[in-house]
């Protein structure tokens, strides 16, 4: 097992380097420079001043040297300083945003698991029942619904017409004056719509996937054996079939991380939530290279970690994987 984990870990290193190379190339090969953005508004800026600014940011060096410099700093967890006027370290800017995005994504992952898995099991066990047909319909509509549009509709219904839920930010204006439970409730009310929406797409996907797995497993011979032994159907389904059908779900969860993080741009901008997505959007617009680089790398690393955890837990429960 330890060898397996070590092997998996060392495989991650070239992938990590690849991620940094691609992020770097994407940013620096695009036309236009960050200094142009800063000097465009002031026609009086001389060419010398612009060159000086480039030198300050290290943008005058050849690309591969810039990359090596950046990588050297990264080893010390130094992502550089933001190009924006606050000039703060990138890791500081990201770290104050990361918990918000992670928190929302984890909540929505939990929601997806708790809701989608039972739905998948039930619709597989009662195939072609009314329940199965209804969830199939939900799945197809769910796949096709643009989340940002659904967000608008929910804001319209629950925020504007019914006025039940707040529609922007994470805290009310009087947040500081609330007691502990008041704060929890306030935060919770602000989180309902964003969490629901970020879970929406995954809900459809995972319940469909779970249904497929379950149908596949139920066809296997060992299920037939279990039934032939005279085991009650409940035990056959929830013990023999479910355990095997749940295995691949772990991998799918690992694979869904990039989608969740990427999707955070959309609902964070709709609900004005100060998370990674909002920071990324602003940084891209302002060509704040260090921040954009930092976010791309952190996003990819989160995915790598997610995949590693998925692989390890898969190996833990399925001995066939470790042996290979």
């Amino acid at each position: 097992m330890a060898t397996y984990i070590l092997k998996r870990f060392f495989l991650m290193i070239p992938i990590f380097l690849g991620i940094t190379v691609i992020s770097f190339a994407v940013l620096h090969l695009a036309p236009g420079a960050p200094t142009e953005m800063q000097t465009m508004m002031q026609p009086k800026v001389s060419l010398e001043a612009r060159a000086r600014l480039n030198a300050i940011y290290g943008l005058d060096k050849p690309l591969h040297i810039q990359y090596v410099d950046w990588l050297k700093r990264l080893v010390r967890f130094d992502f550089g300083r933001s190009f924006s006027s606050d000039n703060r370290p990138v890791q500081e800017k990201i770290m104050e945003r990361l918990p918000v995005t992670l928190f929302i994504n984890i909540l929505s992952l939990v929601l997806i698991l708790v809701v989608a898995i039972p739905i998948g099991i039930l619709s597989a066990v009662h195939r072609y029942s009314l329940f199965d047909k209804a969830t199939t319909l939900f799945v197809f509509v769910g796949f096709a619904t643009p989340t940002f549009w659904l967000a608008l509709l929910l804001m319209l219904v629950f925020g504007v017409h019914l006025d039940w839920l707040p529609i922007s930010g994470l805290k009310s204006l009087n947040y500081e004056y609330l007691g502990f439970w008041g704060k929890v409730v306030d935060l919770g009310r602000h989180l309902i719509l964003p969490v629901l929406l970020s879970a929406f797409g995954g809900l459809a996907g995972l319940s469909r996937y779970m249904r497929g797995n379950m149908l596949e497993v139920i066809r296997q011979d060992y299920i037939l054996t279990a039934r032939a032994k005279g085991l009650p159907e409940r035990v056959v389904i929830y013990k023999h079939a479910l355990r095997n059908a749940l295995l691949p779900v772990v991998t799918v969860l690992g694979l869904s991380i990039p989608g969740l993080i990427g999707g955070s741009v959309i609902f964070e901008s709709i609900f004005a939530i100060p998370g990674m997505g909002q920071l990324f959007y602003g940084a891209v617009m302002a060509r704040d290279y260090p921040v954009v680089m930092g976010e791309l790398v952190i996003g990819a690393v989160l995915t790598l970690i997610g995949n590693l955890v998925a692989d390890i837990s898969y190996a833990l429960v399925d001995p066939r994987i470790r042996v290979r």
Binding site: P14, I15, G18, I19, I22, S23, V26, L27, A30, P31, G32, F140, V141, F143, A144, T145, P146, F148, W149, L150, L152, L153, M155, L156, V160, L215, E216, R219, L255, P258, G259, I261, G262, G263, V265, I266, S269, I270, F280, Y281, V284, M285, R287, V292, E295, L296, G299, A300, T303, L304, N307
Partner: protein
């Protein structure tokens, strides 16, 4: 595919009710997009300050927007954009994916390792972040969007094609072709790829739906198709700004996206079931 296979495919596809509904929706959307100049009641960019944000009425079945433009006409013309983005983006993804996947699967060894590691790396990125960064840095335009969506969406195809080829390349007809002295290129293009295309076709159909969703999200964020060119996403941006007074501006373009994406997904599902009888039998 040979004639008999196509016939068999049709026989199964015809019985797939959801697949047929999808086909109908996709077909209808094609017609509407092609006939947009005839069908749309107004010029989609005709500004009429006298009828700003009018609710749906006889004159404007889906209402008007903040500049008095007819929403129905804008949705019809926006459909053309979505269709184009979907097809071109998937076309690009298919070319890259089929090429790299075929190379990896056919040549194996270090070619395979390098290409598949590259696929792993690309799969680690939060795709939407990557698309957002590139589109914003390159100046948003329809062409850039199509290229970027295609260039970030080929990994699944590459994996599919590779897996197919790994199983096909050992078959007898490939060995026969090789024994006859056919070149690698000829074997790949004439014998292997045509036989590996079935799952790619399904992935492509589903890919069109995904590309349309991505384009609308980008346009919604203001870095996709730029106004005054109508796209479902940028009509929704306007809808967001006046959501409290004009629900029709948010509701209808979203419905258009939903129906379109649903259509392509159902079609893809239908093709998948008709191609893969094993899955079908599992469902009986």
């Amino acid at each position: 595919m040979t004639g008999a296979l196509v016939k068999e495919f049709w026989r199964r596809f015809r019985r797939h009710r959801l697949g047929l509904i999808g086909t109908g929706v996709v077909f209808l959307l094609f017609i509407v997009s092609l006939a947009a100049p005839v069908l749309s009641p107004y010029d989609p960019s005709y500004i009429d300050i006298k009828s700003i944000l009018e609710p749906p009425s006889y004159n404007h079945p889906l209402g008007t927007d903040q500049l008095g433009r007819d929403v129905l006409s804008r949705i019809i013309w926006g459909g053309r954009i979505s269709l184009m983005v979907g097809f071109v983006a998937v076309g690009i993804a298919m070319v890259i994916g089929v090429f790299l996947g075929a190379m990896a699967g056919y040549y194996g060894s270090y070619v395979d390792t390098v290409i598949m590691r590259f696929v792993d790396i690309m799969l680690c990125f939060p795709t939407f972040f990557l698309i957002l960064a590139v589109v914003a840095l390159l100046e948003p335009s329809i062409w850039n969007i199509m290229v970027v969506i295609g260039a970030t969406g080929w990994m699944g195809m590459a994996r599919l094609i590779r897996a197919e080829i790994l199983s096909i390349k050992e078959r007898d007809y490939v060995l026969a072709a090789r024994a006859l002295g056919a070149s690698h290129t000829r074997i790949i293009w004439r014998h292997i790829i045509p036989n590996a295309m079935a799952p790619v076709l399904v992935a492509a159909t589903l890919g069109v739906a995904a590309a349309i969703l991505t384009e609308s999200a980008l346009s919604f964020l203001g870095i996709g198709v730029q106004p005054p060119t109508p796209s479902w996403g940028n009509i929704l941006t306007a809808g967001k700004d006046s959501i409290e007074v004009a629900w029709w501006l948010s509701f209808y373009p979203g419905m258009a996206i939903l129906i379109t994406v649903l259509g392509y997904n159902l079609l893809g599902e239908g093709i998948r079931d008709a191609i893969d009888p094993r899955l079908r039998e599992g469902r009986q």
